[in-house]
């Protein structure tokens, strides 16, 4: 197939709302959004707590978390694979090669981002708000809701960064999902497979959706920071 024809076929796939194509996009979004949601529920309070807590080894924890933001996705996938494989500690759950396993792997990728960025945001806010919050009797755990709320725009950006990382990665979901057609096949794993098989329109169509998604994320992040600027 020649170059232009590939693009034409790819656009036809995107615009034509082919059910198989939509199923792949849908699974990708379901896995990544669920992973980001879980990471937010766990990571926002944990990051805030880390910002306020003082304990021995705190600096080491922060350095490790920052380092984990750069954890290679294939390594995260490998770790989850080892946990979930038949001989692994969680092997009896039978979760390997399921969307649940893919969500677990992506949570591992997103969680450090959410915790580390939340820690930074909340720590900065706390140093600014400390006197007032303590004055009105909000200390420790009781200060966390206020700090998370007032950091909402920066934290939204942190969650979008997490979403961006998870939706773009291929290594982790490929290892623990197995790229099973109609079941664990995401946009990124399909692109990998179809490119090597030669079904370039499908790969390119998914690539277009991924790029559109990235654009959308950045537009939303930009909007959030603009709205945030209104509260300075």
């Amino acid at each position: 197939m020649e170059f232009a024809a590939i693009f034409k076929a790819a656009f036809a796939l995107v615009v034509g709302l082919d059910p198989g194509f939509l199923a792949i996009v849908g699974l990708s979004l379901r896995v990544t959004l669920t992973a980001v949601l879980i990471a937010a529920i766990v990571g926002l309070p944990l990051g805030a707590a880390l910002a306020l807590a003082r304990f021995p080894g705190r600096s080491a924890v922060i350095v490790c978390l920052n380092a984990l933001m750069g954890l290679p996705p294939v390594v995260a996938g490998l770790l989850v694979f080892l946990m979930l494989s038949r001989s692994g500690p969680l092997g009896s759950l039978g979760l390997l090669f399921t969307p649940t396993a893919m969500i677990a792997a992506q949570v591992i990728l997103v969680l450090p981002i959410v915790i580390a960025l939340t820690r930074q945001t909340v720590e900065d806010l706390w140093s600014e708000y400390r006197d007032h919050l303590r004055s009105v009797g909000l200390e420790g755990v009781r200060a966390i809701p206020t700090l998370l709320f007032d950091g909402r725009f920066a934290l939204a950006t942190a969650l979008l960064a997490g979403f961006g990382r998870a939706s773009a990665e291929v290594g982790a979901v490929l290892i623990v999902g197995g790229n099973i057609a109609g079941y664990t096949r995401t946009m990124t794993t399909t692109i990998t497979l179809e490119t090597s098989k030669g079904d370039l329109p499908l790969a390119l169509g998914l690539g277009i959706v991924l790029i559109a998604l990235t654009l959308a994320i950045n537009a939303v992040a930009f909007g959030a920071s603009r709205i945030g600027a209104r509260y300075a």
Partner: protein, 240 residues
């Protein structure tokens, strides 16, 4: 108006505070009975802010005690504090007040009523929905005072509330403070502005190097300062 026993007088009893191995507050003792506006006066580094923070409970004395009447220590916080640089939450003007009320355990409709009252009392009603951090410096400090006022404190601490404001905004805050005192709120504020102390104070606590050098009515302090440090300070000389 007060339906519970007063937290005043406040008794500061031989309080010292150590920081970095230095004695920053040294054997401070004074009482704050109800009524009036007392000014903590002194050069930079005299310990004015520290004294306010110790009284308000933001710092714990290294030695000595801060005692409230009726054993109302710590918990029933009917004292509030306004800081040198207004700390504005990233929310609307009204939400800033509502947040402080919520923190004090005041719920629902009463919270809204009291926030609206405070906005009206301090001329901020038209700003209610604006972002607090985009107000001018003078308006921010006014909001900080309104927010503290909404908590219905018996005693209000202010740490150099006008040091970052222009003369017009300073004048406005001073008028507000006189109004609060007339309302029956007891005020303890720090300043290094002698003019402001003369205009507002009914009592002067003169601090120098963490020690209380003089505690006198404003009239007698400005007419006849008893200590050489206070005389030098009033004469505008640098004292160490």
């Amino acid at each position: 108006m007060r339906d519970v026993a007063s937290i005043l007088p406040l008794a500061v009893d031989a309080v010292s505070f150590l920081g970095d191995g230095r004695r920053l507050i040294d054997g401070l003792s004074f009482d704050m009975p109800a009524g009036g506006l007392a000014v903590l006066l002194g050069p930079n580094g005299a310990g004015k802010s520290l004294t306010l923070r110790l009284c308000h409970g933001l710092l714990t004395p290294s030695q000595g005690r801060i005692r409230w009447a009726a054993g109302a220590e710590g918990r029933s916080r009917r004292h509030a504090m306004v800081f040198q640089k207004p700390i504005m939450l990233r929310r609307s003007v009204e939400a800033n007040i509502a947040h402080a009320l919520a923190a004090a355990g005041i719920s629902g409709s009463e919270r809204r009523d009291r926030a609206r009252d405070a906005l009206a009392r301090f001329g901020l009603s038209e700003r209610a929905t604006q972002a607090a951090r985009l107000l001018s410096g003078g308006e921010q400090q006014r909001l900080a005072i309104a927010r503290a006022w909404a908590l219905r404190p018996e005693l209000l601490f202010l740490d150099e509330p006008t040091s970052q404001l222009d003369p017009a905004a300073t004048r406005q805050i001073e008028e507000l403070l006189s109004g609060l005192v007339a309302e029956g709120i007891t005020v303890l504020m720090s300043t290094h502005d002698l003019g402001q102390a003369r205009r507002l104070a009914s009592r002067v606590l003169f601090l120098h190097r963490g020690r209380l050098i003089e505690d006198a009515s404003a009239q007698s302090f400005f007419a006849q300062p008893a200590s050489p440090e206070a005389r030098a300070f009033l004469a505008g000389e640098l004292i160490w």
